[in-house]
């Protein structure tokens, strides 16, 4: 066997590949697909994976410091008991006896693309304004920019010019989003718009795994494997990240950026802290108050249902809801129904199925289905609904954002439930009227008492419409 050359003797020919694959990462040994001699010859620096402190510990991958999320494991290889991190265990177990590795060699020079964007669509005036602002931020390495764009503003297209700008400069880009569905939906669109650029989608169970593309689309958890990797980080749906509950996510997002970087936040429903920063001019931002098709946002109506809980405890649709279904102005629209719990979605489906068949609203029981977060067939069902193979889809809040259907009416059952906060309701309402062929749609909140969230959601939708120049 040939003696592996040490880094001092000059870099082996595959160095480009190594640095492309491993620079900007923080990985466990078993995530580095190199034979031991080759691995040892390369400048991988081990970093202790768990820091022991006096009163707490800290996982060096996910930043976990919670006592209950560390535990001991008797390691058969070391014949010793170690700490391991329970928090990020889905990404591969971090334990004391196995360090994390950082490739400390030269970082990879990503190609500069002269004209990377193959998208030939046009932007509306408002979209163009936002696109220009994003380009400006990227060009000048501005640290932060928040884009407040209503649901259906066409935010992905608004990003293209900024991404192009970054690619022209040989920058590396990550679009992070909270949900795997969104990553999946984004992948073909981005790849199509940047046909000659390497694009990978990373999420739990994704086909792409190694994260070696210039453009990375990822769920936030996948950011845990990156360190100083991205020049441009776009965080989609920033308000949907459980940032306030889970400190490991902002930690990971921060670590994944290079020192000089630009972060773009996208949101239709900013959280309080961002709104305050905007109000006090502490956060550079731009509004996109009009949908790409130029029509206003559908304003939800509310329907008071006295004794709503009675039918709902039997998983029966309330009468006023059935009336609405039958009296909708445009009966050809599909119906998207939001319910508070998985169980409700499941049981209600059975009952609604019987009623709709008896009333001749649907012919085939297969025209109605339900989805929820843990549904293994979620992707498939969403596809079916989009392809109009399903007439009615019951869902938990999992479909509140990120997914687009061309022509739906939207009902929210028990909209007073605590799962429907203001942001959720605005997002849910934003599912209607998405296509220019059918730019309106009905949105009805069925409730047994108006909540602040409902009132505020309606107010903020109206406010956005006013900002967009629509008069009520």
């Amino acid at each position: 066997m040939k003696k592996p050359s040490s880094p001092a003797e000059g870099l082996p020919p595959s160095d480009q590949v190594i640095s492309k694959n491993y620079s900007g990462k923080l990985l466990l040994r078993n995530e580095i697909r190199l034979e031991e001699p080759q691995f040892r010859a390369l400048p991988f620096t081990p970093i202790p994976s768990i820091k022991r402190k006096t009163f707490s510990h800290e996982c060096q991958r996910c930043h976990n410091q919670k006592k209950s999320l560390f535990a001991s494991i008797p390691c058969s290889s070391c014949q010793k008991t170690h700490l391991y991190c329970r928090k990020c265990i889905e990404m591969g177990r971090i334990m004391e006896c196995e360090p994390l590795y950082e490739c400390s060699g030269e970082s990879f020079h990503w190609p500069r693309h002269e004209a990377p964007c193959s998208w030939d669509g046009t932007l509306t005036e408002v979209q163009q304004q936002a696109a220009d602002r994003i380009v400006h931020a990227v060009k000048n390495n501005e640290r932060e920019l928040l884009v407040w764009a209503v649901c259906g503003a066409g935010k992905t297209e608004m990003l293209f010019q900024g991404i192009s700008e970054a690619l022209k400069d040989g920058k590396r880009i990550c679009i992070a989003t909270p949900r795997a569905d969104v990553v999946r939906e984004l992948k073909p669109r981005i790849q199509q718009a940047f046909a000659k650029v390497s694009v990978q989608a990373l999420y739990g169970g994704s086909k792409d795994k190694d994260g070696t593309a210039q453009v990375i689309l990822a769920t936030t958890h996948q950011l845990l494997r990156f360190k100083h990797a991205f020049d441009l980080l776009i965080i989609d749906e920033i308000d949907a990240f459980p940032f306030h509950k889970d400190t490991s996510l902002p930690f990971a997002a921060n670590r994944a950026k290079k020192d000089i970087h630009t972060t773009i936040y996208l949101t239709a429903t900013p959280r309080q802290h961002h709104r305050l920063q905007i109000a006090f001019n502490k956060l550079p931002h731009i509004f996109v108050p009009i949908r790409y098709h130029g029509h206003p946002l559908p304003v939800p109506s509310t329907k008071m249902c006295y004794s709503l809980k009675k039918p709902l405890t039997k998983y029966m649709p309330p009468r006023s809801f059935m009336n609405w279904i039958k009296q909708r102005k445009n009966q050809s629209r599909q119906i998207l129904i939001f319910v508070p719990t998985i169980k409700m979605a499941e049981k209600m489906k059975e009952n609604l199925q019987k009623i709709l068949i008896a009333d001749n609203m649907i012919k085939d029981p297969k025209e109605i289905d339900f989805v929820h977060a843990e549904d293994p067939k979620r992707e498939e069902k969403v596809q079916q609904f989009r392809a109009k193979l399903l007439r009615v889809l019951l869902t938990t809040t999992i479909l509140e954002r990120g997914v687009t259907f061309p022509s739906v009416d939207v009902g929210v059952l028990d909209s007073g439930d605590k799962v429907f906060d203001e942001a959720a309701l605005v997002q849910i309402a934003g599912r209607a009227g998405r296509s220019s062929d059918d730019p309106t749609g009905e949105v009805v909140f069925f409730h047994d008492g108006r909540t602040d969230a409902m009132v505020q959601a309606i107010q903020s939708i109206k406010k956005m419409n006013r900002r967009g120049g629509f008069i009520e």
Partner: protein, 226 residues
Amino acid sequence: MNCLWCDEEITSDVTWSNVALPTKAKSLCEGCEKELTVLNGSRCLRCSRVSEEKICKDCKWWEHYMGGEDVLTANYSVFAYNERMQDMIAKWKYRGDYQIGFAFQGRFTQLFKKQFNDIKNIVAVPIPLSKERMNERRFNQAEMLAHFLPIEVDSVLDRVHGEKQSKKNRYQRLSSENPFKLQKAINKPVILVDDIYTTGTTLRHAARLLQQHGCPITYAYTLIRG
């Protein structure tokens, strides 16, 4: 204490009746505890499957196949393999969250005492992992379960073939070479311990090997009936 599954804090309700007694620390919260199904009702005496017959069809097949006497006298399983259990097993075994195993300790010990208490001098023998698996996982879930039991544990089995047998059918699997090797003979009653009874092939391989070397009777105690 936080729930081992959902990490919510477990609030133990202290009442005047139990304040003086040492309360057993709970490892799962009430909600997560409820998601698990403890098997009960009429079951096959040999494999613990929910069954109206005393010996189920599968076990009759085994008996016939082995020439009239099954090497496995009885398997007892504690939990059903429902959705939550599948998730828990995946995290415990495959992701390697060792701590999850303690969520089963209470029931596993309790029902052992109920089922196997009257057998004298019984030795627990965990089903081993292959070397490669052990290197990946760093612990053997069967070993962990065995050590929950109030009896002697003797890990006398080694696995010489890997675990991946799923492509073969049951017959091919049993007639194939025994995947285990015995380090030393045990001439006392043995209770094999594993996380799951699926087809029973693995356990019968182990039982046969032990009995070929002088073990008088072999039981199995498994966490789950698959």
